[in-house]
């Protein structure tokens, strides 16, 4: 069943939803990355909640004009206008009053959403039928998706992606260093607004599939996920697009494969699954990588200290050190060094003496700063430099009896 869904064999509606969700995921992932890099991820929360009054007003207007109020294009246009109004309010609050951005986000979010709910109840009492579709915008409803709806989502998503590609350079610059961008003469404020405008476009496009509460997840989670895998912004943008698209596709497929699996939440949960995998298993920034790095470091410290102890003929009491030395074939179970161990210990002691000279010599100041008790001296000095230091230390001397 799931396989059928993944290969788009579950009928017309499921296929439409899957394609729409994939496109939405890609454009949300790509757009959300810039928001995340700008450290304004939660702005999307305010924008998405601010769409509700617009949807309701558009519905009322459509009904007043004699339509049945379910024209998706009209509703989306209404939601875009009110989201833009919310965005401007939020911007005004942060720029012209002492409120911090988080308070402005919360204020816009709750007030616009509350007003939207007032309008929803007004619509319910207006007595015109078919308003049931409106609640679908809260959590998305893909059941009755039409070809025209899918086309709107596809075109909207594609246009958003195109716009992102056009202004990605200034957006990246502003995200990383707004002061520098301003110094270069870029209109930082306007670029920010453009970024928010794109987020708004994604939100509006996604209303039908995932709904206004969960679109935030599609904007934030893929970007955060992608950030684990790369340090280069263009790669993060691409990866976020891929992660979002995959989440949309797989989520839509899973939701089509069984009853009572609403599309929006499933897409979000699939996206979260990607996030968890990345959190733990990403190569550099992942938790597993960090743990391994820590263990490797611990091992190096213990072996180094153990070798120094062996070289100076001290007994090793720390069981972990002894175990590591034994496993590396440097010491026997009773703590006596093997031949290799003796050689490595002598080298460790000599290296320590070399470092001492390096650190005492102002000419080596830059190198001395790299000393952490673990670094092999060969990695920071040339062979000639080491030979020079060795001349100052002198070779091994016989014991005078």
């Amino acid at each position: 069943m799931l396989w059928d869904a993944l290969t788009l064999q579950l009928g017309y509606n499921a296929t439409l939803v899957a394609l729409g969700a994939t496109l939405l995921g890609v454009s949300a992932g790509v757009t959300g990355t810039f928001l995340f890099l700008r450290k304004r991820a939660l702005v999307s929360d305010a924008i998405s909640h601010a769409t509700l009054p617009g949807v309701c007003l558009a519905f009322m207007a459509l009904v007043a004009l004699g339509g049945d109020g379910r024209n998706l294009l009209g509703l989306l246009a209404g939601s875009a206008i009110s989201a833009w109004a919310g965005l401007l309010c939020m911007n005004w609050l942060t720029r012209h009053t002492r409120l911090a951005e988080d308070a402005a986000i919360g204020a816009v979010l709750s007030v616009f959403f509350g007003f939207g709910i007032v309008l929803l109840t007004v619509i319910q009492t207006m007595g015109v039928g078919r308003q049931a579709g409106l609640e679908g915008f809260l959590l998305g409803s893909t059941a009755g998706m039409l070809w025209a709806d899918a086309m709107i989502i596809a075109i909207g998503g594609a246009v958003t992606l195109l716009l992102v590609m056009i202004i990605r350079r200034p957006m990246t610059l502003v995200a990383f260093d707004p002061e520098y961008a301003a110094a270069r003469g870029l209109p930082v404020h306007r670029i920010d607004l453009a970024m928010m405008g794109l987020v708004m476009a994604v939100t509006v496009v996604g209303l039908k599939i995932v709904g206004l509460i969960l679109i935030v997840a599609l904007l934030i989670i893929p970007a955060v996920t992608a950030r684990f895998w790369s340090e280069r912004s263009e790669h993060v943008v691409l990866l976020a697009g891929v992660a979002g698209g995959l989440a949309g596709y797989i989520g839509a497929a899973i939701s089509a494969s069984a009853p009572n699996l609403p599309t929006g939440p499933i897409i979000v949960l699939v996206s979260f699954a990607f996030f968890v995998v990345s959190l733990f298993f990403a190569p550099k920034r992942g938790v597993l990588a960090a743990v391994l790095r820590h263990l490797r470091f611990q091992r190096r410290v213990h072996i180094r200290q153990g070798l120094l102890a062996l070289a100076q003929g001290q007994k090793i009491y720390e069981p972990l050190t002894l175990r590591l030395l034994r496993r590396a074939g440097l010491a026997r179970a009773d703590g006596v060094a093997t031949d290799t161990g003796k050689a490595r210990a002598a080298k460790a002691l000599r290296d320590e003496r070399r470092w001492e000279i390096v650190r005492a010599d102002l000419a080596h100041e830059a190198t001395a700063a790299l000393y952490d008790g673990l670094r092999d001296i060969e990695t920071v000095l040339t062979r000639d430099q080491i030979a020079e230091i060795d001349r100052r230390i002198g070779g091994p001397q016989g014991i005078l009896l």
Binding site: L42, D102, F113, F115, I117, L139, I213, L214, N260, P265
Partner: protein, 309 residues
């Protein structure tokens, strides 16, 4: 309107709305000043999965398991946000966004998967609450306030939210000095021996309790609005924390009362027939108050620019 009509139908919703608004606005003052305003947003989203899980475990819609479930979910969310922030080195806003949307999605999914058709549990209810239905059927007029038998029939939300309000007020009052110092100068607070980490956590937990209790009565949308709008509006009017809190309580009360009245009677005045959502109207009123304060407040500008102190 006469007492026979007002007391049973409007008094309790008004009181519950006002108490909930104040209980949220009090910790909201500190959250806004500490730039943690969106904690309220996150908590009110994660309450949904908590309630659904509590329903799945107990199988009934009873208050205490649900409150516990909601509070548990809030704690889980706070811990998860912190864990993701530290383990993944992600900025707090994004970590919050990841956690609360996922938990909300999980809540919606659980709700769809379980058969809740026999009970009153749905997403809409969680969002806008049901303030209008908290009526006091046993009351006959003002005299019922002294009548023990009638008092026993009060909606249980009223004593609960009143108790929460007392608790929140006590917390603010008892920890006033440390809260104030650590909010404005965390470094200094630490040097004089205030355990800022514990205090910050306590503040978040207090906020969570207020949010859960208010949520039970009035839905999550008021919770977010009351955490942020009254304190933010009060912030525009003064530079003193004491005055700010007084203003925020006044604004919270004003939005609750005016919102409830407008929702109940506004449509009638405009010639409509039915009331609109009180929760939504209260949030809207708090927004209007904030807009007025942001436009005319004497201390609205960021630095130095205010007209007179």
């Amino acid at each position: 309107m006469s007492g026979e009509e007002f007391v049973p139908l409007s008094l309790t919703p008004l009181l519950i709305g006002t108490f909930a608004a104040i209980a949220c606005a009090l910790p909201g003052n500190f959250l806004v000043l500490r730039k943690q305003a969106l904690i309220g947003d996150a908590i009110s989203h994660v309450v949904l999965p908590g309630i659904v899980v509590a329903f799945l475990v107990t199988g009934t819609i009873s208050t205490w398991p649900m409150m516990l479930g909601a509070a548990g979910a809030a704690v889980v969310a706070v811990v998860l946000i912190e864990a993701i922030r530290r383990l993944g080195q992600i900025e707090p806003g994004a970590a919050m966004g990841v956690v609360f949307t996922t938990m909300f999605a999980a809540g919606v999914l659980l709700l769809e998967q379980t058969d809740t058709s026999t009970v009153h549990l749905d997403v809409e209810h969680a969002l806008y609450g049901n303030l209008e239905s908290l009526i006091w059927l046993d009351a006959t007029g003002w005299s019922s306030l002294l009548d023990i038998e009638a008092l026993a029939g009060l909606p249980p939300e009223l004593p609960r939210i009143a108790l929460t309000l007392v608790g929140v007020t006590l917390f603010t009052w008892l920890f006033w000095r440390p809260l104030k110092i650590s909010t404005f100068d965390e470094g200094f607070a630490r040097t004089i021996g205030i355990r800022t980490g514990v205090l910050g956590m306590a503040l978040v937990i207090t906020a969570a309790i207020a949010a859960v209790a208010a949520f039970d009565a009035v839905g999550s949308i008021i919770v977010i609005a009351m955490f942020i709008c009254p304190p933010a509006a009060a912030r525009m009017l003064t530079n003193r924390l004491e005055t700010q809190i007084a203003w925020s309580v006044l604004f919270a009360t004003a939005s609750a009362v005016s919102g409830y009245v407008l929702a109940g009677y506004g449509p009638l005045w405009l010639g409509g027939a039915d009331a609109v959502s009180a929760a939504g109207m209260i949030a809207t009123m708090s927004g209007l108050i904030l807009a007025a304060a942001a436009t005319f407040g004497p201390c609205r500008a960021r630095i130095g620019a205010h007209t007179s102190a």
